[in-house]
């Protein structure tokens, strides 16, 4: 029997506000333990939470960017459980009335196909503290700096059918979060976390199999690996006519396996109820339109515009809109040198190649967009050759100097003066009588040799097209 996996993802993304969701403590990462705390986030009796408006605004941005409906009213609920990283004994989250529902995200697969992934809901909640387990003593250290840091949870529909689809969906979500400026989406540092609900069913079936929830997926690679492992594990159980157990599993990246963490029987009973300390949240249409107005052009919209306005291939547009900064860089270049495909080729080839090799992102690019555009302009005007352009590009990347200055300092201006080139050609012909003889006897491939000699004599500065033409004329075709 053929099986198909059914996957839904729950993503927790930290919102990059300056302060926590319900108190004015700083969210800055890396402070001394327990120094960014106050009575509210410590769960002191009598303290009261007050909602950070920016958390709502940021979540609304995400909701609009993922095509969600925003109900007129939403509210916060308490999720009750005991754990040492949770000082109040409950986490403030949203349960029955989340801020956003019924959204979707269109993802593009590598084979060119496109798929719509439903988003069930987005809600706001507070993060828990951090536990550090002591190596030598039978104690754990509790750091409550992270307690109350704002999180946005994005729950997808079970629409994903492979580890690869899950990976693309996750990368798209992350790109949007960064694009609209509400979070950094850093998986390794834990500001972007993912749990995967996975089940298997006979292909074509419209009911779901028993699912497991896999946690501790701390990198994009691990998400895909864990999903592949879990699909294989469950398929094997079903082929053995066994039963998949509904449980929470933990990905063990060292061993490359998922391990049972707790079964359905041990599952938590969270006893959600509306938090009486927080007032209902009313989102008026006026607020939604204000957020919509401030929302930047989204990756998919910009990609479409690049294809229609600049007439570049969809593939190029996809690469150039992989981050907002890269798309901005591209458009900046076009202001100086408006040849969209030419600029796109250089960015995708030389520039991204350089950045990848140096492990840099576009934000740290040593070459300013106007300088790259200036270089392409010099090349286009015939002031420098393609080969020289590469040399100047490398020099720009190491010194950050503008291309004109490099060309002048190094005397790299292309020689297009017929008399100078002819003089060099005459010298090369005079110095190589044998080759001239063979060329005239029909060994036409030797033209390359002559061009090379002339280029060498002019230190690469001669206009290659002119060298070619003049050589042909002198040698006779």
């Amino acid at each position: 029997m053929e099986f198909e996996p059914v996957i839904g993802l729950e993503v927790h993304a930290q919102l990059n506000t300056s302060t926590k969701i319900f108190c004015a403590c700083s969210t800055r990462f890396g402070a001394e333990p327990n120094t960014h705390v106050c009575p509210v986030c410590l769960g002191m009796p009598g303290s009261l939470p007050v909602l950070n408006k920016k958390v709502v605004e940021y979540t609304l941005r995400m909701a609009l960017a993922t095509n969600c409906d925003i109900p007129p009213q939403s509210r916060f609920a308490r999720k009750n459980y005991f754990y040492p990283d949770l000082p109040k004994g409950y986490q403030i989250s949203q349960y029955e009335l989340p801020i956003a529902i019924n959204g979707h995200l269109d993802i593009d697969m590598q084979d060119g196909s496109s798929k719509r992934i439903g988003i069930t809901r987005i809600h706001m909640e507070e993060d828990a503290g951090k536990l550090i387990h002591d190596g030598s003593l039978p104690v754990s250290h509790v750091d409550l700096n992270r307690t109350g840091v704002p999180l946005m949870e994005i729950v997808s529909e079970p629409d994903l059918r492979s580890a690869a689809e899950a990976g693309v969906y996750l990368r798209n979500l992350r790109a949007i979060i960064r694009w609209i400026g509400i979070g950094d989406g850093n998986m390794e540092e834990g500001s972007f976390r993912c749990d995967a609900n996975i089940s298997i069913r006979p292909k074509g079936s419209d009911t779901f199999g028993t699912r497991t929830e896999t946690k501790n997926l701390n990198s994009f690679k691990n998400v895909e690996k864990a999903i592949r492992y879990e699909i294989a594990r469950q398929t094997e159980i079903l082929l053995d006519t066994g039963q998949v157990v509904q449980e929470t599993r933990l990905w063990n990246p060292g061993k490359g396996v998922t391990e049972s963490m707790r079964s359905k029987e041990q599952a938590h009973d969270y006893r959600y109820f509306p938090d009486p300390d927080l007032l209902p949240l009313v989102i008026e249409k006026k607020w939604i339109s204000a957020v919509q107005k401030d929302l930047p052009e989204l990756p998919s919209q910009r990609r479409e515009r690049f294809v229609t306005e600049m007439a570049i291939p969809d593939y190029d547009a996809g690469v150039l809109t992989s981050s907002r900064e890269l798309a901005d860089y591209y458009e900046s270049c076009l202001k100086t040198f408006n040849q969209p495909k030419h600029v796109s080729n250089w960015i995708m080839g030389s520039l991204l190649g350089l950045l990848n090799a140096e492990g840099k992102s576009i934000e740290d690019c040593p070459i300013a967009p106007k300088d790259l555009a200036q270089l392409l302009k010099l090349l286009d005007e015939g002031a420098i050759s393609g080969k020289i352009a590469k040399t100047v590009f490398e020099e720009m990347s190491s010194t950050g100097k503008p291309p004109k200055q490099i060309v002048e300092e190094k005397g790299l201006v292309q020689v297009s003066d017929t008399s100078i080139i002819e003089k060099e050609i005459d010298a090369v012909i005079a110095a190589n009588p044998n080759e001239v003889e063979r060329y005239k006897d029909g060994q036409k491939k030797l033209i390359g040799f002559f061009v090379g000699q002339v280029m060498r004599a002019t230190k690469g500065k001669a206009n290659p097209k002119m060298v070619n033409e003049l050589l042909m004329k002198k040698l006779g075709t």
Partner: protein
Amino acid sequence: MKLTKEQVLNTARLARLDIAPQDVEMFSEQLASILGYMEKLNEVDTTGVAPTSHAISLTNAFRQDRAHEHLPRDKALSNAPEKDEDGFLVPKVI
């Protein structure tokens, strides 16, 4: 109406309360009388009435995203039964 022994013990477990076996019967009766009192509310016809999520009819109390002074660490830790200079200590979890 009376709560079963299992219901009492489960409620105690969720609240992390250690109940003596001889007290289960007593709590069963006491909890039942509290729930019985709540049952009274079910007698009211609430068809078409939206559930109340808050006692006062206010909405949208917000705070601006500006940091305040933090609590000094020694103060934050002052009530903790177990601590070191950096923070709270709890019995090892995991």
